[in-house]
């Protein structure tokens, strides 16, 4: 079995990767929604989502649960709301307004989601693996023009918005759609110019090359700090997030482009918004923060990681376990707080937090055990001689670690999206256009000019 797996490894990965990566992104969505709700709560001094729960009445187990001790209730930190949202969206009537153009109205919400699922295809999730049976690419669609493809795809998502807005046949929807397209055009320019400076340095359109350059030199954010900020601001505008969320506005244009949408079609638009946040976060991590590389140290590339796999795995598992134990401490704080309270369901609350604490402690210990196992078996792996290959275990573990690194970086940026949304007031529409055309564009042009001159001089000097 194992021999067969190793013999057909590239084929298996080639089939599994295009299915796995969008699935992973979809699994990030509940986390992002939870982050948004909980983040909104704690930033505004509220408690956030805390009602929807899975109730388990396990009274039949003697000694543990009886009539005096009520059952189990799991709220999963508000994660249950995602389930209820989905059930609600799916159980609503598939209503099409009588004044809408039915065909386009139905198709439109699918376009942004489709784009959100397609864009991860060009992002390198782990370093290329050279095996005895051929190379496995960390990119689903390895191409030299990955960045161009990415921009082409992400520009398509506005079609879903504009098409939905137009086919709704309502003035509020149309206004939202027009705003969205105008913002897209304005900020696509400065976004492209911000990346151009980076491209001059990397010397390639391939995202894989971008990560490789960053692993041999330093992260893009250090060579292009202004480009990074420009790209970040443009990304906020592209995803129509606060402070650029003029495409929807209760006080001006009701719900904006999705005014006439309801049920699961409305939720598709929401899904697309969060998918874009996830993809945008991964993209900015790839372009500016070294992608799947661990730290901005020159020479710490994929082969270095494979060589020192055991040490890195141990260090990462310790860091992860510390973070998890910190989380357990927060949970225990909640538990103490609830135990001291006067709620009628105090028992259930205390038991609930106890279970969370136990689960996350177990997770932390499991992480430590995995790290220890990796350290014991893969402490030092000699670089294979020319013509030879790394063992499949080393390659697979490296790929998994790199994948988790890029997801972790992306989650940090996803939090930034949430954080900024609940901090800044939204811009007025004319202020957005002012910022886009009069500030960002000029700064991006000057940045590009300076980058070009400096890059040329440095390359001449070498």
């Amino acid at each position: 079995m194992l021999d067969w797996v190793i013999a057909n490894l590239p084929l298996i990965v080639a089939i599994a990767l295009p299915i796995a990566i969008p699935l992973v992104l979809f699994h990030l969505l509940p986390l992002l929604v939870l982050m948004e709700r909980r983040g909104a709560g704690v930033i505004q001094d509220r408690s956030g989502p805390h009602r929807a729960a899975v109730n388990l009445q396990l009274k039949s187990i003697p000694g543990i649960f009886n009539d005096a001790v009520p059952g189990l209730r799991l709220r999963a930190f508000g994660m249950i709301y995602n389930v209820t949202d989905l059930v609600k969206g799916l159980s609503k009537e598939f209503f099409i307004p009588p004044f809408a153009y039915p065909g386009w109205y139905v198709i439109a919400p699918a376009i942004p989601v489709m784009v959100g699922v397609l864009t991860p295809a060009v992002i390198p999730w782990f370093g290329d693996m050279a095996t005895s049976v051929g190379t496995i690419h960390g990119t689903i669609f390895p191409t030299a023009n990955g960045l161009l493809l990415l921009f082409a795809l992400s520009s398509l998502s506005v079609y879903g918005v504009v098409l939905g807005a137009w086919s709704s046949n309502s003035k509020y929807s149309l206004l939202g759609g027009v705003r969205s397209s105008a913002m897209m055009i304005s900020y696509e320019v400065s976004m492209g110019l911000a990346v151009l400076g980076l491209l001059l340095i990397y010397g390639s359109f391939s995202l894989q090359d971008a990560v490789t350059w960053q692993s041999t030199h330093t992260w893009g954010v250090f060579v292009q700090p202004i480009g990074f900020l420009l790209f970040l601001i443009s990304l906020f505008a592209e995803t129509c997030r606060n402070p650029f969320d003029v495409t929807e506005g209760e006080s001006e244009i009701v719900g904006g482009y999705h005014t006439e949408y309801n049920g699961i079609r409305f939720m598709l638009y929401m899904t697309a918004e969060y998918l874009h946040i996830a993809v945008g976060s991964v993209l900015i991590a790839t372009l500016f923060l070294g992608g799947y590389q661990l730290l901005p140290v020159p020479g710490w590339d994929t082969d270095w990681l494979r060589e020192h796999l055991g040490k890195v795995a141990l260090a990462l598992s310790i860091v992860t376990a510390l973070l998890l134990f910190g989380f357990v401490k927060l949970i225990l704080g909640r538990r103490t707080h609830n135990a001291a309270g006067h709620a009628t369901d105090r028992e259930v609350r205390v038991r609930e937090y106890g279970i969370y604490a136990a689960a996350f402690s177990g997770l932390a210990i499991g992480t430590l055990a995995l790290g220890g196992l990796a350290a014991a078996t893969l402490w030092h792996n000699p670089v294979p001689a020319a013509g030879a290959f790394w063992s499949p275990v080393v390659l697979t573990v490296t790929a998994l670690i790199q994948f988790h690194i890029i997801i972790a970086k992306a989650l940090v940026f996803s939090w930034l999206f949430v954080w900024v949304r609940w901090t800044l007031p939204r811009f007025r529409y004319d202020q957005i256009m002012d910022l886009g055309w009069k500030v960002l564009l000029n700064v991006a042009l000057v940045n590009l000019l300076i980058t070009a001159v400096v890059a040329k001089l440095i390359k001449e000097a070498w």
Partner: protein, 191 residues
């Protein structure tokens, strides 16, 4: 004349807005940190499971005070229903068998759907017969008729939930000072 509200003058660093963004982010991060690590600082109360501590003078559903023998203190003087801006109190009086008290209520109804919980009835009452200190802020019934509460419901309260001197603290009929006065009256020492 329109009042001119002076706008605070922004300095250069505030006008470029960029640094202010980071200040704002620091503020919200502080709140987020506090919210995650210190659950006690939330003003939120998980309502049905946790009840907020209501202030002593919170105006909730009414109750009718009782004399020592359990009859209502109310003398059916109509002061409360006269004071009521919502006209939600409906009293029907009859002659009291007690010769010291002129009238007593046969019917004392409050329509809680009309009531605006202003507390004027409590202030108007000359003998402290009606109070709004039950702390019953939430009333749930499935038909309108149940929101009209009668004398029995208004007098259905447990003395354990209220201060001990509740029954005897007042000078109204049934109260301690009234009892003293009655005793003096009966013994003839008042004259």
């Amino acid at each position: 004349m329109a009042k001119v509200v002076p706008r605070p003058e922004l300095n250069f660093w505030e006008r470029i807005y960029f640094i202010e963004i980071f200040k704002g982010l620091a503020t919200t991060l502080g709140h987020a940190r506090k919210g995650l690590t210190d659950p006690a600082h939330f003003p939120t109360v998980n309502y049905p499971e946790e009840k907020p501590e209501l202030p002593r003078d919170y105006r909730a559903r009414h109750r009718l005070m009782k004399r020592a023998d359990g009859s209502p203190r109310c003398v059916a003087c109509y002061m409360c229903s006269t004071a009521c801006p919502a006209r939600c109190i409906n009293i029907v009086a009859e002659t009291s068998p007690d010769r010291h008290i002129e009238k007593r209520p046969v019917k004392f109804e409050i329509d809680l759907l009309l009531c605006v919980f202003c507390g004027y009835c409590v202030e108007a009452c000359p003998c402290d017969a009606i109070r709004m200190d039950t702390k019953l802020g939430v009333m749930v019934h499935d038909n309108r008729a149940d929101f009209v509460i009668d004398k029995t419901k208004l007098m259905d309260w447990d003395p354990k939930d209220y201060p001990v001197d509740d029954l005897t603290s007042q000078s109204a009929p049934g109260g301690a000072r009234h009892a003293d006065a009655l005793a003096r009256l009966q013994s003839g020492s008042d004259h």
